[in-house]
């Protein structure tokens, strides 16, 4: 929100003026109200291993994160480009493998990756789209200087918080939306439904779309139910579906009903016990066969994990050049692949300055944040790194942007990131903004809700 010398960045000016005019008591009251409403609405996530009925709120901060419209236009163009290239890469990896054969990356890095699904070789998916919903994590360093942190192409979550945070802000502070031209995001479910319908199997005119959830004890269950309700589609669990002959059906009060598109919020591993993990009770036996025969669409496709794996991430700029013949608009964070001896050497020599991540992990687990780690933690990580260098990448800690945030001691700067949601079908669409996550602990760079992160409303401010 502030530039280096403490001046307010111009697009925050109007908001700051307003905030200065609000009493502490009023703001405290509003924050309490937000908590109560979130509880009543049930925007909570279940905490595993805790006693029954333990549900927590993800902390919501009432100070919005503001992006000026021109910056968003640039981001949007960069995101479109990136997701188009990633979808092209996915199609290629499971077909001709031109990118690999052209020597842009080592063949075995794909073929021996656990996220690569040989079951998908030669399978044609509707419109050649694999990542129908992408949640791309972006951080900002200097002014307008954005970096992609990771591409989430499996089952990215968080969009319901984007929508509920906006609804909450409009409820708490309607006057702000009179004073500021904030680009609306509420039509996201509409875009999503349209997108899902557009990728139905060929020949299906009026597709039946369902959302497949692991069930109400999943931490993202609220989002699954919310999106199903907003789109007016059935929220199904694996046991509600079954495969018969060549199709997938759901069990209804009037007998089986054919399903055409499954927006699945279950990982590949659990989606079909006969094809992947046999101990999964969440999936649908035989689903993969129907899918491979093109009789049902899965969104996202099976096997997208190969494109958002952290060991593949360094090659995305090359993919953009290779598939689109364009220069990448959004930069990657410089990345050291510990698989390469020279990168490993550099990483081991600079552990205290770097962020080191496990390549297959997500959610902020299994990582080392050098500047925040103790000497013992660094040494422990060093051992793991030396033992299995293939398993790690390292990145410099960026001077990440911060946003003023309510904390116990008052308002203080906290690091933020941004997850816009990019929808790919017949066309690529998105709503302006995304989910802003904030690291609530002072100095922390980890924004994941599993690690004590919170969220904010994200404003794309029209001039």
């Amino acid at each position: 929100m502030y530039v280096a010398h403490g001046n307010v960045r111009p697009h925050y000016g109007s908001f700051e003026g307003w905030l200065a005019g609000q009493s502490d008591d009023l703001m405290r009251l509003k924050r309490t109200e937000a908590d109560q409403v979130f509880r009543r609405v049930g925007i909570t996530f279940a905490v595993y291993g805790d006693g029954a009925g333990t549900e927590r709120l993800i902390p919501f901060d009432v100070i919005p994160r503001i992006i000026p419209e021109p910056e968003w236009r640039f981001l949007e163009a960069g995101l479109r480009q990136r997701v188009r290239a990633l979808n092209a890469f996915l199609h290629d990896v499971y077909h001709g493998q031109d990118f690999l054969r052209a020597g842009h990356m080592p063949m075995e890095q794909v073929l021996r990756n656990s996220q690569y699904r040989p079951e998908m070789r030669g399978v044609d998916v509707a419109s050649n789209i694999y990542a129908h919903i992408a949640g791309v994590d972006i951080v900002r360093a200097g002014a307008g200087e954005y970096y992609v942190l990771e591409d989430n192409l499996r089952v990215p979550s968080g969009v319901s918080y984007m929508l509920e945070n906006r609804r909450m802000m409009m409820r708490l502070f309607p006057e702000l939306f009179v004073r500021n031209r904030v680009a609306p995001v509420e039509h996201y479910p509409d875009l999503l439904l349209e997108n899902l319908r557009s990728v139905a199997p060929q020949g299906v005119d009026d597709p039946t779309v369902v959302l497949l959830t692991p069930g109400m004890y999943n931490s993202a269950y609220f989002e699954h139910a919310f999106l199903a309700q907003q789109m007016g589609i059935e929220l199904v669990e694996g046991k509600d579906l079954f495969v018969q002959d060549t199709g997938v059906y759901m069990r209804t009060t009037r007998g089986p009903v054919r399903v055409d598109v499954i927006y699945r919020r279950i990982d590949d591993d659990f989606i079909d016990p006969t094809a992947f993990r046999s101990d999964s009770s969440l999936g649908v036996a035989g689903l993969l066969d129907v899918y491979r025969n093109g009789r049902v669409t899965l969104a996202n496709a099976v096997g997208t994990g190969i494109a958002d794996d952290k060991s593949i991430y360094p090659y995305v700029p090359d993919m953009i050049a290779f598939y689109l013949g364009e220069k990448p608009l959004l930069a990657n964070v410089p990345t050291y692949c510990c698989r390469k001896p020279e990168d490993l050497d550099y990483t081991l020599a600079h552990l205290a300055e770097l962020v080191v991540k496990e390549v297959h992990n997500a959610g902020g687990y299994g990582m080392l944040v050098g500047p925040a780690a103790t000497r013992a933690e660094i040494e422990e990580f060093r051992t793991r790194l030396v033992a299995q260098p293939d398993n790690y990448i390292a990145q410099p800690t960026l001077a990440l942007s911060t946003c003023p945030t309510y904390v116990d001691s008052g308002i203080a700067p906290r690091h933020i990131d941004l997850r816009p949601f990019v929808l790919s079908g017949k066309t690529v669409t998105m709503v302006p903004g995304g989910l802003t996550r904030v690291a609530l602990r002072e100095g922390s760079l980890v924004v994941n809700s599993s690690q004590g992160g919170g969220t904010k409303d994200t404003w794309v401010l029209e001039a």
């Binding site: 049930g42 009925g53 109400m216 139910a225 589609i233 759901m250 069990r251 209804t252 009037r254 089986p256």
Partner: protein, 360 residues
């Protein structure tokens, strides 16, 4: 497209059905506790008061469970057991939790208003209990439960599309209500069936054990069909009056009784009002009417027999006379009614909620 009947997941239907049943059950438990609490305040022996509580537990089929957990009967212990005991699956706490959990499982099929009503009820219940409302003002607590249930029904009717989801919800409501009203009535009739307990003077041996289901013969020359609430000299037995008035109040029927009969309260009329009057919204007849109407909306190629049985029950209530229905003994009639309602409930599960391909 607009006229097409939307199908729904069997699992969703199941959750909606039970969501509605549990909130209705919570309401009726509150009603039953309220009436028992009120009558326990009448001047009477402790044994008589205890018998009232035991009758209530017995009719809810909870006596053994209560006895296993409590050595003695006390009002706080019963209230605690029936209201806030999470290990008692029929406590108000358990019912509201189950209603909310069922709602949560299908919140994608509910309107936001319906979901939030269930969720807020659950959240408020926890704060009401932790703030000690049950101890400080149990009547106000019971009122609160009742009104949350009223609100839930109103929000359902006021916001939900009249499709299968709606009819399953309504079906659950009225099937549960038919069951619960029968039980509320039976508390008193079971008590009656156990035989008169002398007004206490402290010297009479009082039966405090739960009574086996024994029905005193009431028909024929032995006297009136029902205990008429008078003693041998035709003097109204004032305690009886209060009991029946409390039963009426517990189903919001006291004023209605006065309007309909414009006369003193007699057990026969109470039975008629709460069993046979189709215009009395909590009566057995009205509840079974609604069960039939909603079943008609939902009918599929398997549900014919269920509809027939429900229709038969409705016809008996519609064309029956209270004297005939009760000739067999009120408790016997109510027991048989409960069995038939239970049978219809099980058949609904088989017809709609368990998918046929799973029955194979």
């Amino acid at each position: 497209m607009a006229t097409e009947r939307r199908t729904m997941l069997s699992r969703t239907a199941d959750h909606l059905f039970w969501m509605a049943r549990y909130i209705e059950r919570a309401e009726n438990t509150a009603r039953m506790l309220d009436v028992t609490l009120t009558t326990s305040l009448l001047p009477q022996s402790p044994q008589q008061a205890e018998r009232g509580w035991r009758a209530m537990l017995g009719i809810s089929e909870l006596q053994p469970r209560f006895d296993a957990m409590h050595e003695t009967m006390s009002v706080p212990a019963v209230l605690d057991f029936m209201v806030r005991d999470p290990d008692n699956p029929s406590s108000i706490y358990s019912c509201l939790q189950a209603a909310r959990e069922n709602a949560r499982a299908v919140r994608g099929s509910l309107t936001t208003d319906v979901w939030e009503t269930h969720n807020y009820t659950w959240l408020q219940l926890q704060s009401q209990l932790s703030e000690g409302l049950l101890q400080s003002d149990p009547k106000q607590f019971f009122e609160w439960v009742k009104f949350r249930s009223h609100l839930t029904r109103g929000v359902t009717i006021g916001t939900m599309l009249k499709d299968e989801a709606f009819y399953f919800t309504r079906l659950g409501t009225f099937l549960e209500r038919a069951d619960n009203t029968a039980r509320i009535l039976d508390v008193k009739f079971l008590d009656e069936a156990a035989g008169p307990v002398p007004v206490a003077d402290g010297q009479v041996q009082v039966q405090v054990q739960a009574q086996p289901i024994v029905v005193a013969p009431r028909a024929g020359a032995n006297g009136p069909v029902l205990s008429s609430g008078t003693d041998g000299n035709g003097q109204p037995h004032y305690l009886d009056y209060y009991y029946w008035a409390a039963v009426l109040r517990s189903v919001s029927a006291f004023e209605i009784y006065r309007r309909v009969y414009r006369d003193v309260i007699t057990p026969l009329r109470v039975a008629e009002l709460l069993i046979l009057r189709r215009d009395m919204p909590r009566s057995l007849a009205a509840s079974v009417d609604e069960v039939c109407a909603n079943l008609e909306q939902l009918k599929n190629d398997r549900s014919g027999e269920t509809a027939r049985r429900a229709g038969l029950l409705r016809a008996e209530l519609q064309f029956g006379r209270v004297e005939d229905l009760l000739a067999q003994g009120t408790h016997v009639f109510l027991t048989s009614f409960l069995e038939r309602v239970n049978d219809i409930g099980q058949r609904i599960s088989q017809d709609f909620l368990v998918p046929p391909e799973m029955l194979r």
